[in-house]
């Protein structure tokens, strides 16, 4: 098993009456709620946590891209990742990822991801999401019905740019470049491991399988609800005649560890409820513009969209519900281990994106929970997939002689150093 410590970077100062006063945490959230002076402290707290996670032994540290969003302060995850290349040297840096349909031209993503891979010594995990409709359509103006087509074209350009050793012309429908010539190029060959975060679009499964990319199901609603979707994915894997390595799939799960189950509630309940009540308060039309989902997906999941069951659930959530329905895996190390084992085996996943910082959780609680997990839970879940022990197809392959910039005092004087040969 591989464990990645992931931070969504929520804004922790949303007011108590946020739900009542505002229709959405995303897209049209009043930006007067953001205070840049507090933001300075918030960014550094979150960056410190990601760096701390490496020292705890997590395999990866992760960030993602959201725009105009109260639960995600990373319009540019690449800036976050860049700072991590200077302050870590072992963990994978998982950028899950860049919403490539919104980049103009998409060669920018090939360039920046190459920079990150080089700066980190080959530790980049490159995520290519279609992007949520909030981000890609409403904030970045892409036409919903053409978003997937544009995504496919951007993907084609980026992969070709990484593979090609000569400049080439790219005559796309959405992008025309006479000279594509990716410079710098990534360390990892043929390219960094590629993760495709998906919600519930069934086309994404085939896309992942066509190219043997990792399929990452990023849900905030726990493994009990994620099961039917991942079952669908594994059925598709079998149908396509692919091997069933669990490393083909990743899942995101909110995790809270304390000494006892009761202590977990006392420490973390209010912060998880902050996350579910305020951070997921999204105006429904922003989540479902016509054309964003293909008709096949709309028909596949039409009823679940209609009932708005999810919105209803969010209205009066309690800690008991969060825990019972496994939106949150919380409790003593043993409780968490048991439930995560059920999650990992039930979903057949080799990668877990662990969400330890939730909502407005203060730094000390985040670290306490992460540390207990790293010391008492993670070691006991490591070897759940013995048959795939040496399957590194979906993980980083860093260079052995990479530098350790985090061990240098910033700006320290150096002796006369030549370029290495």
């Amino acid at each position: 098993m591989k464990f990645t410590w992931f931070n969504l970077m929520p804004w922790p100062y949303l007011p108590d009456d946020f739900r009542e006063r505002h229709r959405s945490v995303w897209v049209d959230i009043p930006n007067t709620l953001y205070d840049p002076r507090r933001g300075h402290n918030v960014y550094h707290t979150y960056l410190d946590q990601l760096e701390y996670a490496e020292t705890l032994g997590f395999d990866g540290i992760g960030c993602n891209e959201h725009h105009q969003n109260g639960y995600g302060l990373m319009p540019s995850p690449n800036l976050i990742a860049a700072t991590l290349t200077r302050r870590t040297s072992r963990a994978a840096i998982c950028v899950i990822g860049n919403s490539i349909a919104g980049y103009n031209p998409p060669i920018r993503v090939a360039e920046e991801f190459a920079m990150l891979d080089v700066m980190s010594g080959g530790r980049l995990v490159a995520g290519f999401p279609v992007g949520t409709s909030m981000d890609t359509n409403f904030c970045y103006g892409q036409i919903p019905a053409l978003t997937r087509d544009k995504y496919r074209e951007a993907h084609e350009m980026i992969m070709k740019a990484w593979a090609s050793e000569e400049p080439f012309a790219f005559d796309g429908k959405y992008n025309q470049l006479r000279w594509v010539n990716c410079w710098p190029k990534p360390i990892q060959k043929p390219h960094p491991p590629i993760y495709i975060p998906g919600g519930g679009s069934i086309e994404t499964w085939d896309f992942c399988l066509d190219y043997d990319y990792n399929y990452s199901y990023l849900s905030f609603f726990g493994y009990l609800r994620g099961k039917s979707l991942l079952d669908g994915y594994w059925e598709r894997v079998a149908k396509r005649g692919k091997d069933e390595s669990p490393y083909r799939a990743a899942f995101a799960q909110i995790i809270c560890v304390a000494d006892t189950d009761a202590e977990a509630e006392r420490l973390y309940a209010e912060h998880c409820l902050y996350f579910f009540n305020r951070c997921l308060h999204i105006f429904p039309p922003f989540a479902d513009p016509p054309g964003y989902r293909t008709m096949a997906t709309v028909k596949y999941g039409a009823l679940s969209q209609l009932t708005r069951a999810r919105q209803k659930i969010l209205e009066n959530l309690t800690w008991k519900q969060l825990v019972d329905e496994r939106f949150v895996i919380a409790g003593s190390p043993e409780t968490v281990r048991q439930q995560l084992e059920e999650c990992i085996k039930g979903l057949r996943i080799g990668h877990l994106f662990c969400l330890f910082h939730n909502g407005n959780m203060p730094d000390w609680k985040t670290r306490h929970s992460s540390k207990l997990f790293a010391e008492k839970v993670m070691p006991r879940l490591r070897d759940l997939w013995p048959d795939y022990k040496h399957d590194e197809r979906w993980w980083i392959h860093p260079m052995d002689d990479r530098l350790r910039p985090e061990e240098q005092r910033p700006g320290a004087e150096k002796k006369h150093v030549e370029w290495p040969r």
């Binding site: 897209v27 409403f138 919903p144 019905a145």
Partner: protein, 260 residues
């Protein structure tokens, strides 16, 4: 009125409502499509040979994957006119249909007789931003489209009982499919730079507007008039954006007078 199906040279297959006799008139519907009842078409058919095609992805029309941008939509409009075998028809376009009809008239100004734009989309006034129909709850849509939202909601759903899950599901799928198509020329802002081509629109034009239009404010009528060489404006009191359905007689009278 009767339905017929035509195939265009490009490969779309479109359902067309047809009635009446006289000079040919083509009515292009907006993003909401034709509704279950379209009495204003019957009124127009008393004097004209009326054709009301459904855009691909609407009703039983197919080939939506072949149309991606404004030029595709406008050429498709002419492909339909050709497939119907019409010569110099009058064109009427409502809302998104008006945007397409105006574009058609800019591309081939000598191929139509007269043009009627009804609450037409296609322009953007910074001080009168058009509400985002792609970011609305169902009841909010009826509120911006109709003077009487309750009656409007009933018209939109064709009287279907949306508390029935199956009916709701069908309605949802149909709506998603239509608006996905409309979004190709309306999202995120319904402005595909038509304004810089309107100098070519030399057909006599009637700009017809519901005086209580809450979606595309009546101020837009003056902007169309300013940009089109030979246009006049007529406001219809008591009607909103769905003017043809809200005031069918007033609509038909205004159009019939103009085309006479």
């Amino acid at each position: 009125m009767k339905w017929q199906v035509v195939d265009t040279a490009k490969g779309t297959r479109c359902r067309v409502l047809e009635a009446g006799s006289g000079a040919p008139v083509v009515f292009f519907h907006g993003a909401g499509g034709l509704l279950a009842d379209n009495p204003f078409l019957d009124l127009l058919a008393q004097r004209h040979h009326v054709f009301a095609p459904e855009w691909p992805a609407y009703g039983e029309s197919t080939g939506d994957e072949l149309l991606e941008d404004m030029l595709d939509f406008a050429l498709h409009g002419w492909d339909l006119v050709n497939a119907l075998g019409l010569s110099q028809p009058h064109l009427i376009g409502h809302s998104m249909g008006g945007m397409i009809a105006a574009e058609m008239a800019c591309l081939a100004p000598r191929d139509l007789s007269r043009l009627v734009l009804v609450g037409a989309a296609g322009l953007w006034l910074e001080d009168r931003p058009i509400p985002d129909i792609f970011a609305m709850l169902p009841h909010e849509i009826a509120e911006v489209l109709f003077v009487d939202p309750q009656r409007g909601a009933a018209l939109l759903t064709g009287g279907a009982d949306l508390s029935d899950m199956e009916a709701l599901k069908d309605f949802y799928i149909v709506t998603q499919r239509r608006l996905a198509m409309a979004g190709k020329i309306l999202f995120p802002i319904p402005n595909r730079r038509l304004s810089k081509r309107l100098y070519r629109l030399t057909a006599d034009t009637l700009v017809l507007w519901g005086a209580q239009d809450r979606l595309i404010a009546p101020a837009y009528a003056a902007q169309w008039q300013a940009l089109i060489p030979r246009a006049r404006v007529q406001m219809i009191e008591g009607a909103g954006h769905m003017l043809p359905w809200e005031a069918p007689q007033a609509f038909a009278d205004a159009v019939t007078n103009f085309l006479a």
